[in-house]
Amino acid sequence: LYIKKLEIFGFKSFANRVELELGPWLTAIVGPNGSGKSNIADAIRWALGADSARLIRGTRMEDVIFAGSDGRKGLGIAEVTVILDNTPGRVPIDFSEIAITRRVYRSGESEYFINKIPCKLRDIQRLLAGTGLGRDGYSVVEQGKIDAILSSRPEDRRAFFEEAC
C-alpha cells in the first residue's frame, strides 16, 4: 500500500496544477527555502483526512487555498488527489487503485471523493482506519519537530506508543 501519484491544484503555493509520481521506496523532495516542499507534505496529510487546519500550519481551512502572489490573483478552490496502489488489498474496497480527492472552497465548504464518487470526510477516515494512513503519529515528522519527540510530556509520549499498538 503506497501513494502512486499526487495531484495538487490551488493548494497553498500550488497555483498551477502539479503532478508527482512517487516511488514505492524513497522519494526525496529538494529545493530552496519557501519553494513549497513542506506544502507538498501538508497536501498529502490534508488529502488523507487531517481534520485540523492547525495540523498543516493554517488557522482556518480556507488558508490552504492559494491566496494570490505578486503575479497572480488568489484562487477560489484548493484540490488535492492522492492515488493509492492497493494491490495487496489492504484498503478494504475492491479496487487495486484508489483515488482520494479533497477540495475546499473560499466559502469554507468542502467536498470529498473516493474514485470520483462524492462522499464525506468520515468516509475517507473510515476507509483508511486500520491501514495506518491518515494518522500522523509516528509516521510523520514535521519540520523542526524532531526534538519535540523527546521533550514531549509523558502523556504525549504514551500516545505516540499507543498509536503503534
Binding site: W25, T27, V30, I40, Q143, R158
Partner: protein, 160 residues
C-alpha cells in the same frame, strides 16, 4: 489491553536498542516503563548513552545527538509497525556527515517496507532516493516541480 501494549512495547524496545547502536555507531539506549506493573498508565522513559560517553540526562545531549535519538525511536516503531507512508521533513538537518550516512543507509532499508517521502537539503539523503523532485518558484509565489535524475542532482547541488 495491558498484555498487548506490553508486548508491542517490548518489541519496540528491542528494536530501539538495536537501531540506536546502529545509527550512533556504538553506545547503548533503552526504553523503560516507569512502573512495569502498570503498563497502560505509566510513563515511558528514554535512556541514552552515546558511544564513549557515560549515561546521559537527555537535556545534556547535543542537538545532533537528540535528533538522532528521536530518529532511532521513530525508526524502531516503524520496524515493528511499518506504516504504509512515512513523511520526514528535514529530519536530517542537525546530523553531521558520519551520522547522516548511517541514517541514510537505514532509511534505505526501511523504505523496502514503508514508502518514505523525505524533504531534505542533504546530498547524502538525496543520493539514497530512487526518485527526486525539485521544487522551485520561478513565477512569483507559485511552486513548480521538476523531476531530477542522478546526474542532474550532482549538477543541481550547487544551486541548492
Amino acid at each position: 489491553s495491558a498484555a498487548r501494549f506490553r508486548n508491542t512495547f517490548l518489541d519496540i524496545r528491542r528494536e530501539f536498542r538495536e537501531v540506536f547502536t546502529r545509527l550512533f555507531g556504538g553506545g547503548h539506549a533503552d526504553l523503560q516503563l516507569e512502573d512495569p506493573a502498570n503498563p497502560l498508565e505509566t510513563e515511558i522513559r528514554i535512556v541514552a548513552q552515546p558511544p564513549g560517553k557515560r549515561l546521559e540526562t537527555m537535556s545534556l545531549l547535543s542537538g545532533g545527538e537528540r535528533a538522532l535519538l528521536a530518529i532511532s525511536l521513530i525508526f524502531a516503531i516503524l520496524k515493528v509497525r511499518p506504516a504504509p507512508v512515512a513523511i520526514l521533513d528535514e529530519t536530517d538537518a542537525a546530523l553531521d556527515e558520519a551520522n547522516l550516512r548511517r541514517f541514510a543507509e537505514l532509511l534505505r532499508e526501511l523504505s523496502a517496507r514503508s514508502q518514505f517521502i523525505v524533504v531534505t537539503h542533504r546530498k547524502t539523503t538525496m543520493e539514497t532516493a530512487e526518485v527526486i523532485y525539485g521544487v522551485t518558484m520561478e513565477e512569483s509565489g507559485i511552486s513548480k516541480v521538476i523531476s531530477i535524475s542522478l546526474q542532474d542532482r550532482e549538477a543541481g547541488q550547487e544551486a541548492l
